[in-house]
Symmetry: C2
Subunit: 413 residues, 2 copies
């Protein structure tokens, strides 16, 4: 087992071990934000006929100009009705938005560009051939690939699925992620805090991070600080795609995660990544088909930060996503930061716009136990491994955790 | 009623009419991504005692240096146990991560920085006072505001809620949005396409847009092209926060939305915004307490684009969000675009990185019926109202619809 890896190398090893999950069939109504695992080929032509894009009058090709001559209204075509009889020169059809245009109609003139007379209609503003007509198949032809494989099913893609009449669709499976904690000091939120006990908040933050990555968290519970308890809980989690445990992965006498995984037949791939917070990270897998295992450190911030850097990209890749990492901004430091050389630090920061720039300020106490400062953090500032000082006014890369930071206060219109 | 507004003015009027919704109580377990409507004050101190951050030995203030003298191990403190007896000089306590440190312990030395002897322990690497101890209350003190009002409940904030023992929480209500379409040509996806009929895809795309904005869509159905049908459906939707209809808002004989709203007592505030796609937009409200009404155009792309520009920011404001508009990027045009003066165009574009730049290319046919091109669009390029040409190589602002565009292919670590 390798140990003491650079963060980038650890990510590379993890992503190399991750495969996109196989497809499953999903009701289109439940497929929002899933990734399409098939090309959707349309069995329909859309629109099925040439239709009017306006309320107005359908004109024969001989009558497109504002000529002053009166056209006879020989038919009326409503939306949802059949296209009607062929149009002759000198004739016009009253037509409504979405209604099929009659055969031989060359254009539709908007009703506000006509004058109604007793004996018919006069065109006051001429139109060009094809104007205000949406051609049959303009959107989709029979046999067209309406959506390509790998498309994330956003609002428009879901509309396209409905248009072509698909009620089920093949999508990449969502990773199922078993979450477990270990530690005799941990209680569930409804437990008795008593002496020396704290709520296992990691279950809540890691479950939310799992959901935010589009995966499904399954909460396995809190294992007591014995190898037997941990083994029972890990064994029960083996049928998930991913197992994420927190705590128990350091070098202490009671850090049972590694020996228990070993005993269960898990291939331990690496232990320890040179970052702070979060050095004691274990990554392993149960062969080519069993679950991936991430043993995260137990401190709340360390658990969240290592999930963010190592588990999230793996879950996104499993779900068929392509861009696996957070947006980054180049931010100016609002204050001086120092550290020792050797480990890359991820500094919790608040981000504020200042003119065209973004200013990053530490959320304060960077202890890995201070979850509250993680709740305030909008980004993680990358303080490179070998650097020891970043001066106020320097710039640094910041991973943006909260997409709200990138939203704007005006629309740009 | 005002008509023919600039897009920016229309947004201003809408947001002025929108209030943040009142709070409601929500189970903490269901509160992900909701906006906090209270300040969460902690009734707990976290951690409740000073705890060890490592597996190692707790030392008295007199024994912090690597002196070569042997310390007697007089107690062992496990996580979840009480803090134990006060430590005397020359004594040490075996201690585990998360366990409360004994009274009078000044620091914890990591076990890898000690040597075990038969009669005790020798410190091989000295520690500073306070080292490897997390102070009581380091994260949160009793009475601290653990989370401030207005905080979006992301993973860390949900962890904080669990830590302080909160199982319910006051959050801003989610807007309930009634969605209805009108048009005799529309069918549900399981309906018979027959002659001249098409699936009402707007219900699907608008519902997904509503959900993506954090609001709750309630599907009211398809109203037939009669004032009576529309009135019945609108009346049944009056107890929602927002009503969004599509189609029937133009100037045609069968565009009943405006007259029916008027008859129901809706104050019609404006009609028509100088943008393309999407001119025929109606905005109104039922007094100060009734629903806001958006009558969107019926063409699939026009409906989605007007939702994006006018409904989405309103829903976000109602839900207590602060940044209401999409991130924008400055993109270089991959091709020449032209239009007439007078209306602002929102051009569907694909965005691709090219070195440090982003290149925007039209998705092709910009007809407002071509939903497929909306499904491909990653952004909407702002082609200003009075401009008539953007040359290839010019730059323009692009609203980013798909946050994946901003994600990166490497982590930056």
């Amino acid at each position: 087992m390798r140990t003491g890896l650079d963060a980038r190398e650890a990510q590379r090893i993890i992503l190399e071990a991750v495969q996109t999950l196989p497809p499953e069939v999903c009701a289109a109504a439940l497929a929002r934000d899933r990734v399409l695992a098939e090309a959707v080929v349309s069995a329909r032509r859309l629109p099925p006929w040439a239709v009017s894009a306006m309320d107005g009058y359908a004109l024969h090709g001989c009558d497109l100009e504002a000529s002053g001559s009166t056209l006879r209204v020989t038919q009326e075509v409503a939306a949802g009705a059949p296209p009607g009889a062929p149009l002759q020169p000198g004739e016009t059809a009253r037509i409504f938005t979405g209604a099929p245009v009659p055969p031989d109609a060359a254009a539709v003139v908007r009703q506000e560009d006509t004058e109604r007379r007793d004996d018919g209609v006069v065109v006051t503003v001429g139109v060009k051939a094809g104007e205000n007509i949406r051609d049959a198949g303009e959107d989709i032809e029979v046999g067209d690939r309406a959506l390509v494989e790998g498309t994330p099913l956003g609002p428009a893609a879901l509309g396209v699925l409905a248009s072509v009449g698909r009620s089920t669709v093949s999508v990449v499976q969502r990773p199922r992620v078993a979450l477990l904690s270990s530690g005799d000091e941990l209680i569930e939120p409804d437990g008795d805090p008593g002496v020396g006990r704290i709520v296992s908040s990691n279950s809540y933050s890691l479950a939310a991070q799992t959901q935010a990555a589009g995966a499904e968290p399954i909460y396995a519970g809190i294992a007591a600080d014995t190898p037997e308890a941990l083994e029972t809980m890990l064994r029960a989690s083996l049928d998930h795609h991913v197992i994420v445990s927190s705590a128990g992965v350091s070098v202490g006498d009671r850090d049972y995660v590694r020996p228990v995984l070993d005993r269960l037949g898990c291939e331990l791939i690496f232990w320890g990544v040179k970052i702070k917070p979060g050095y004691p990270l274990v990554f392993g897998r149960f062969g080519d088909t069993g679950p991936l295992v991430f043993g995260l450190p137990g401190n709340p911030v360390s658990a969240m930060v290592t999930f963010e850097q190592f588990v999230r990209p793996a879950l996104l890749k499993m779900a068929g996503e392509r861009a696996l990492f957070r947006p980054r901004v180049r931010a100016r430091l609002g204050e001086r930061l120092t550290k020792g050389a050797g480990r890359l630090h991820l500094v919790r920061v608040v981000l504020e716009r200042s003119g065209a720039e973004i200013v990053a300020t530490s959320t304060g106490n960077q202890s890995s136990g201070v979850l509250r400062s993680m709740a305030r953090a909008q980004g993680l500032l990358i303080f490179p491994a070998e650097a020891t000082e970043l001066a106020a006014g320097d710039t640094a890369e910041v991973q943006v955790l909260d997409p709200r930071v990138l939203a704007t206060e005006d629309s740009g219109l």
